[in-house]
Amino acid sequence: MITLPMPQPEVIESRDREAAATPDMEQEPLPLVIESKNLSMWYGSKRAIENVSLDIPARAVTAIIGPSGCGKSTFLRALNRMHELVPHARIEGSVLLDGENLYASDVDPAIVRRRVGMIFQKSNPFPTMSIGENVIIGLRLNGVRDRKFLNERLEKSLRMAALWDEVKDDLHKSGTSLSGGQQQRLCIARALAVEPEVILMDEPCSALDPIATAKIEELIQGLKAQYTIVIVTHNMQQAGRVSDFTAFFYMGRLIEIGSTTKIFTNPSQKQTEDYITGRFG
């Protein structure tokens, strides 16, 4: 068993426990994987999200919906510190992953992102690499050299991303030679290969046709048995189809979160109802 070289022993521990868990083992359930507490964020002087406290349950799909500019993508990026690429982005409050603050001063953002992976709106396989290299690049650049282990992980990740049968004979071909939907599934395989605990998806289907979208949605349903998934989407039908919980954001604030059925049938806030029923947004 090869584990990634990680400076934080407790991370490895918690993962190994998960990996070793069998159905009959008495396992302490982790009801919440991510808790954001009073999270506010600014781009320069512009406040993008305001005082968001939101708990994300483990092994479930949480959808974040809301009109453009409501801060849902910003919030998503705050969950794995991707917003730090933007100059002058500033954050207040905290995000706990399994109880640890991601924003503690001794936490390396690279370690955070290994545990919280991300899929982007536009598929982005690395153009200089083959399909196979794309999948294992995260492991390789994190120091894994064992060829056999890499090959196993390559196949496993591609199978989980429902792409293996389509590409198994073309692993040496360029990742950019695939269709749009396949490229997005390749990106999902690439994210799965480093075995994150949480997968963030930022409108993963917005550039795809309905058939490719359906495949990704089916994939999300399959993945939630093992992963916690947070998906930002513009498409309310999609949120209804794939998610267990839905959070509604408006003007940088969290208006409401609840089970998807409740949010879509019986929201407690007027604004949510207006948005769901298409009265604005």
Binding site: N80, M82, L85, P109, A110, I111, V112, R113, R114, R115, G117, M118, F120, K122, N124, F126, P127, T128, I137, G138, L141, N142, S174, T176, C187, R190, A191, V194
Partner: protein, 285 residues
């Protein structure tokens, strides 16, 4: 009825023809010197090109034959020396400008690099003469290589920066989201994606300095024999051409033309190579 409209139509047509004629003439003026130079050098130099030119050392005045093998090899050695310093500094500097550094410092660095790109090349020769040649009391291949490297650095720096900035931000994000450290992301993903552009920049910089004479006058100095020690003067093709061209001997003039032909062909080949490299990129993208 036909008056105003037709008149203005033919007037517009005339203006259009004039302007396209002018642009066509300008284009010809750009291309013509290249063709003229190339054919004139070819015509004057081809007669002195033979195997001996590439295999023999220069002969003393009056003796027939002789070649420029030491100058050709010397130029390659100087380019190699210049590359050892110029490529790493230029590429890493370009990476720094594109990926790190505060905006204000970077715009200052960029400005300085642009100014340096405009500095006359003989200035670099004088600078290195002052810094190296006077200190070690000898013209040397090292000094020549350094002078060429100093010309290469700002060229490579700016092209590297530009091609790295062309790499879409999505690749950076994807790599960072995999938990790959920033420096590894930059080296293994961003620079790799931009590598063809960087290689293009390096080749063009080499082609540019390969033809430089002025910075070598007080640094590499030239040599009629083989150079056995890089801390001694070394021959270079442009220097040899210069020496031979200002000499009063017809035989040397012919050799100078042949040298010029070899040099122009070399630069031409590098440029063709660049075209091929960039074409592969667009084909795969």
């Amino acid at each position: 009825m036909r008056t105003g409209r037709t008149d203005s139509h033919s007037w517009r047509k005339l203006k259009s023809t004039c302007i396209s004629g002018l642009t066509f003439c300008s284009a010809i003026l750009v291309i013509a010197p290249l063709a003229l130079v190339f054919f004139y050098v070819l015509k004057s130099g081809i007669g002195a090109i033979n195997l001996g030119f590439f295999t023999h050392l220069p002969k003393p005045v009056g003796e027939p034959g002789g070649g420029m093998v030491n100058a050709i090899v010397g130029s390659l050695e100087l380019l190699a020396l210049a590359s050892v310093v110029g490529i790493p500094v230029g590429v890493l500097g370009g990476v720094y400008l594109a990926e790190y550094g505060a905006a204000r410092v970077n715009s200052l660095l960029r400005f300085i690099a642009d100014v340096l790109n405009g500095v006359p090349s003989i200035t670099w020769g004088v600078v290195v003469y002052g810094l190296i040649v006077l200190r070690f009391k000898s013209f040397s291949a090292y000094a020549g290589g350094l002078a060429l490297a100093l010309i290469m650095i700002p060229l490579i720096l700016r092209t590297t920066e530009e091609v790295i900035l062309l790499v879409p931000v999505g690749y950076r994000e994807a790599a960072l989201a995999l938990g790959i450290a920033r420096w590894k992301t930059i080296l293994q993903i961003v620079v790799k994606t931009a590598s063809r552009g960087i290689i293009t920049g390096i080749l063009l910089a080499l082609a540019r300095v390969g033809g430089e004479t002025a910075p070598l006058l007080f640094t590499a100095f030239g040599n009629h024999f083989w150079n056995h020690d890089l801390s001694e003067p070394i021959a270079a093709l442009p220097l040899q051409i210069f020496t031979y061209a200002i000499s009063p001997y017809d035989d040397w003039h012919r050799q100078a033309w042949a040298g010029a032909l070899v040099l122009v062909t070399g630069v031409f080949c590098v440029n063709v190579l660049v075209r091929i490299v960039t074409r592969v990129r667009t084909a795969s993208a």
